[in-house]
Amino acid sequence: MSETGLPTTDGRRLIAAARRRDLLFAGIGLAVLFVATAVLLALVLDLVLTGAPHIDLDFLTSYPSRRASRAGILPAWVGSALVMLVTAALAIPFGIAAGLYLEEYAPRNRVTDVIEINITNLAGVPSIIYGLLALGVFVYGFRLGETILVAGMVLALLVLPVIVVATREALRSIPREVREAAFALGADKWQTVSMYLLPAARPGILTGIIVALARAIGETAPLVTIGALTFIAFLPPPPITAQPPFVSFEWLGSPFTVLPIQMFNWISRPQAAFHELAAAAGVVLLVMTLAMNGLAIYIRYRARRLLG
């Protein structure tokens, strides 16, 4: 710079250099983005190209077998579905309730602080540790065995923070005018919450639930520790029966396997034929989780557009 402050030749060169660096960084940013996308694409393509040819009706309706050509994922997806049923039944009410309490009821005090820090930390505890919790407390402590019920419970605990956080964020985004209007009309807390806040928060909570269940369905480690069996040639007892009362909860106490465990089992075998089956199971799993995440993203996007 010259003394007058106007750019001299040197100054201009400086500016040009700065601009070049600016562009370079933008380039690097785009490159990172590109690589991340490419990895995701490679992962999906590799899995689909290897696995998709194996997916047919037989694959979905057969039991696992020692012969790769005959093996299927029937018990795995049935197990996943039943475990999800338990997880949803537990995680949804508890997650929403905890989120409601922390956002709408909790007084600002020590107890609230402890609960908040605690939930944040639970969200960061490695999933395998939840598995050991289930092993020590549910399987051996409560003698519930290595069952669908325990699997559903441990996954519910694991994804609880996701629903809690989503509920809180959804409630926080409701303008305070809605609360004031309800209270001015004479509503008490629970009326305000149940009649006005929960309906308004529904899209956000729903998004959280779907993301949570998508995570639960792909979770493997905590189920390994509670001994989800990898070779199961039978189905759990059906939840609906022919005799009255037509519903049965026997399946809750049944041993089980789930899709990710079945996939893990097939990956661990040395034969390439089983690796292809693993890819096929992976495709099924990936389609389910990506579809659920996509649905969640869509719901949030639509809700945001509706709110303007």
Binding site: I119, N121, W190, H275, A279, T289
Partner: protein, 315 residues
């Protein structure tokens, strides 16, 4: 039910008042719900207590047989051998090596991407990229494991022909991609929370975008970004399936990424897959290993929590 009906028009309104029974029922319901919601929120504390109790009690039983000093200094971990050794170091070495690889991918890439998204990208690009990252975060870890073992490792073998099928490099790299979305979204949140006034000040001084991003936004968001790194670390250290599938399950006291090695988490998986009876030292040993892991991640998480809270307070 409503107490009185509205009076005829022309008379001052006198209010539709609820019946005392309705009000009593309403008050009861409000109290019950408040109690139930509080109970649900406290459940999380119970879960934490249960985790600590299980890990501590089983570990205590474990340390009655194995000295703490041996646990922390022995360089062999061979609990299933006839003459068992219980040194956590080999497992820690595996954990640290793989996490280091993952973080050396995820931290630079994540920081660059977050800066790019918050300072460079226009909103349309962001609308596309954020869902993409969420998708990436939604991929099950066992699928990442498959990808590491059967796609990345063969690819790496072209570079390093001697690379064994089980190695730490491949799962490390894949795990880096896996935790990338967390680091990006948390650090981007922190960067976007930096007030625009700071950016305007920088631009007014003649800073370029890059200078603003690196010299103003990044330092201002530092505690939030550091929290993102810490949470990423916690995730890397605790990740199980990718490692169990692609790094092998053999305890190996080495920091060489081209070798295979077990981590704390893979050891737990390995024991769980076998037939280990309740109450044996092998059974207890997975709890001791898990306690180590829990303390590690807890440290990262607590530090991250307070950094994030401090960050929120500043802005």
């Amino acid at each position: 039910m409503a107490g009185s009906l509205p009076p005829a028009d022309g008379v001052l309104a006198s209010g539709i008042r609820p019946s005392p029974e309705f009000l009593a029922r309403r008050r009861l319901k409000d109290r019950i719900m408040r109690g139930l919601l509080f109970a649900a929120a406290s459940l999380s504390v119970l879960v934490t207590l249960a985790i600590v109790y299980v890990l501590a009690s089983e570990s205590l039983a474990f340390f009655r047989h194995v000295g703490l000093v041996a646990f922390l200094t022995d360089t062999q971990w061979t609990p299933l051998f006839a003459e068992p050794h219980y040194g956590i170091l080999p497992l820690l070495a595996g954990t640290v090596t793989i996490s280091a690889i993952a973080l050396s991918v995820a931290i630079p890439a994540g920081t660059v991407l977050a800066l790019y998204l918050s300072e460079y990208a226009d909103s349309r690009l962001r609308e596309v990229v954020k869902p993409l990252l969420e998708m990436l975060a939604g991929v099950p870890t066992v699928v990442f494991g498959y990808f590491a073992l059967l796609f990345v490792t063969p690819l790496l073998r072209r570079l390093f022909p001697d690379l064994p099928g089980f190695n730490m490099l491949s799962p490390g790299l894949v795990m880096g991609v896996m935790i990338l979305p967390y680091i990006v979204s948390l650090s981007e949140d922190a960067m976007r929370a930096v007030p625009d006034a700071l950016r305007e000040g920088a631009y007014a001084l003649g800073y370029t975008r890059l200078q603003t991003a690196v010299r103003v936004v990044l330092p201002a968001a530092l505690s939030g970004v550091t929290a993102a790194y810490l949470l990423g670390m916690a995730r890397a250290v605790g990740e199980t399936m990718v490692v169990a599938i692609a790094a092998g399950q053999n305890p190996n006291f080495t920091f060489n990424p081209l070798e295979g090695a077990a981590t704390i988490t893979t050891y737990i998986v390995q024991v769980s897959l076998g037939d280990v009876a309740y109450g044996t030292i092998a059974y207890q040993s997975i709890f001791a290993a898990a306690l180590t892991l829990f303390l590690l991640t807890l440290a990262f998480n607590v530090l991250g929590f307070f950094l994030r809270r401090r960050f929120r307070e500043v802005y």
